[in-house]
């Protein structure tokens, strides 16, 4: 499948107690990848995390919004149990099934100075939309 061209980016948006994460891109999977980057950036600076070790992820959900939350929570599970941080992501979505990979390294407190732990991705401010030929995916994460 040819890559769709366009600019992908991530950002944080405000929530009183927690943090909003948003990813945009030319495709649904690009938006999901960017949202994952935004989530890592809640914890640490992305450029401190070497994308050396690969972890595979698979999840499925009845709609794109629930799938986004599942994708992020699956990443959090791997981060928590492997004690890793990730800085590179690749996602493929077909129907309600997501297969993906995350690359990163073990947590090093001195190197990464993690600011906060992300407990879970939530359904608050949850949206996955296609607009102006691009995709946007966002939600609030509980920290």
């Amino acid at each position: 499948m040819a890559e769709i061209e366009g600019v992908s980016s991530w950002e944080h948006f405000p929530h009183r107690a927690d943090m909003g994460i948003r990813g945009t891109g030319p495709s649904l999977h690009a938006a999901f990848e960017q949202t994952a980057l935004a989530m890592t950036a809640v914890i640490t600076s992305l450029d401190t995390v070497e994308a050396g070790q690969k972890v595979d992820i698979a999840c499925s959900a009845p709609d794109d919004e629930l799938l986004l939350v599942d994708w992020l929570n699956a990443l959090l599970y791997e981060m928590d149990t492997r004690r890793m941080l990730f800085s590179r992501f690749e996602v493929r979505i077909e129907g309600g099934d997501l297969t993906g990979s995350a690359w990163g390294e073990p947590v090093d407190v001195e190197k990464h100075t993690p600011a906060v732990e992300v407990k879970a991705a939530t359904y608050t401010e949850l949206a996955v939309v296609c607009e102006d030929g691009g995709w946007m995916a966002q939600c609030i994460v509980d920290v």
Partner: protein, 476 residues
């Protein structure tokens, strides 16, 4: 929040009358300023809660309330299982049974003043905290199920603490009805090496000084002496709780149509208490509660070990342990009749008054201790539940200061190093792995805890007993 949207019931109580799909009113507790400062989302979220089936009385909003997810943080709502009442994973949150415990030491502040730096460094080494941290224990599957069933009691049986500690914990250290088989393998794997870890964000272990006593009699009952040192631990159920929340929120969203539930906000995902999903969630949530109680018990053991190294004379006694993200089965008098209700307290603390039969005998006259965590630069408070509180807000009080600005806004306004230096200038030592984390937790990013506590006292939700000011704060 525009006060003209609300009806004033008294100086410290306001009400939003039900309209549309709201089944009961929303009741706000606080002074005029605190309620005006609440974001509009609090009213929206509390109104959504009142639309859920089986709700009894009102959705009660505490003085420290702010925008949460589904439920407002600082929200209390009870549901009757015999009236199709629901239980909501969003109404408990991801950090199931996040809570606080305070421990008295018998030491005068002067005794530790000269060794503040030493105890801060020792605790930073001995208390596992922050992203990637591992506890000192690694549980086998059998041990995991035992811990989830018996909570702090399990921890004491393993040698972490004393039997007397259990008398000073809600549910006597372990809530009945926990069902480990309702907890996913994912949740148990996450927790395997996290027992006895502090977490991060707004969690802390803080050494404090009793700086003011408001009620001498109750302070004496609780063992609080002005000028003495106490230690407070704030944390929850760690990875297990987070995973249970994640698992059941999804399950409840997907099963809602099956139960004909119209959920105004997906984060309010819920199920009838009397349903297989509801019963499974109860069983799992109670495991989460026991996990948090065990966690704080193990941390107390590590704290006692560290303190005995530097201050062998200190006697660390547990004053009380309260949780503030729970759903508990309780009996309350509603219109003169006792009713069995499931009470959600999301960022709110149980505050039962004098005479409550499950209080330890020595606390029966005083009422249940209520611990309100402040910020690392302001103060925390000890209060006591009142008789009136049972009739006002189902025996509930606030849980802390509540944030007044987002984490993002805080890091734009303050630098972590500056926050640390300004606190150091006031004699407060902070230990944290991250300067950005410190900026996010800057004291000015939180509401005025003194105003919150004063409003709680004036609204008779609890009464003030003592004020605690920080000396050393360990963050993750």
């Amino acid at each position: 929040m525009e006060l003209k949207k609300l009806k004033k019931c008294s100086e410290y109580q306001w009400m939003a009358e039900p309209y549309g799909k709201m089944r009961v009113p929303v009741r706000f507790y606080g002074d005029r300023r605190l309620i005006e400062e609440m974001d509009e989302k609090v009213l929206e979220q509390a109104s959504n809660v009142t639309m859920l089936p089986g709700i009894v009385g009102a959705c009660h909003v505490m003085p420290d309330a702010h925008w949460g997810y589904g439920f407002p943080i600082g929200g209390v709502a009870a549901f009757d299982p015999d009236k199709g009442g629901i239980i909501s994973a969003g109404g408990v949150g991801f950090d199931i049974s996040c809570g606080v415990r305070t421990i008295t030491t018998g030491l005068a502040a002067e005794e530790i003043q000269g060794r503040k730096g030493d105890i801060a460094s020792l605790l930073a080494r001995k208390i596992p905290a922050g992203v990637g941290s591992m506890g000192k224990l690694s549980l086998s599957p059998g041990q995991m199920d035992d811990m989830l069933t018996a909570g702090a009691r399990w921890a004491v049986e393993q040698g972490y603490g004393h039997k007397e500690d259990l008398d000073h914990i809600e549910e006597h250290g372990a809530i009945a009805g926990a069902k480990p088989k309702c907890v996913s393998d994912h949740a148990k794997i996450r927790q395997k090496k996290q027992v006895g870890t502090l977490g991060s964000g707004n969690h802390y272990l803080e050494i404090q000084r009793v700086s003011e006593v408001f009620n001498e009699k109750i302070a004496q009952t609780y063992g609080l002496v002005k000028g003495q040192i106490v230690i407070t631990i704030h944390c929850g159920s760690r990875g297990l709780g987070h995973q249970i929340g994640t698992d059941f929120l999804k399950r409840m969203v997907i099963s809602a149509p099956k139960y004909n539930l119209e959920i105004p906000d997906r984060e309010l995902a819920c199920a009838p208490i009397d349903s297989s999903v509801g019963r499974d969630y109860l069983g799992a949530m109670r495991c989460g509660m026991n996990c948090a109680l065990a966690n704080r018990q193990v941390l107390t053991h590590l704290l006692r070990q560290a303190f005995s190294e530097l201050f062998p004379r200190a006697e660390l006694k547990l004053l009380y342990d309260v949780s503030h993200n729970t759903c508990k089965e309780e009996t309350h008098r509603i219109n003169g009749k006792p009713r069995r209700l499931f009470v959600h307290r999301k960022g709110a603390t149980r505050a039962f008054g004098p005479g409550y039969e499950k209080l330890p005998p020595e606390y029966k006259d005083a009422g249940q201790p209520v611990i309100i965590g402040g910020t690392m630069g302001t103060a925390s408070y000890i209060l006591a539940g009142t008789k009136e509180s049972m009739d006002i807000a189902l025996g509930s009080a606030c849980h802390g200061a509540g944030r007044s600005m987002s984490r993002r806004a805080a890091t734009k306004k303050w630098r972590g190093a500056d926050v640390m230096h300004s606190l150091a200038a006031r004699g407060i030592i902070i230990k944290s792995p991250s300067l950005r984390g410190i900026a996010e937790e800057a004291p000015e990013a939180y509401k005025d805890v003194t105003a919150v506590v004063e409003a709680t006292h004036q609204a008779k939700l609890s009464q003030k007993v003592a004020k605690l000011t920080p000396i050393v704060c360990i963050k993750g």
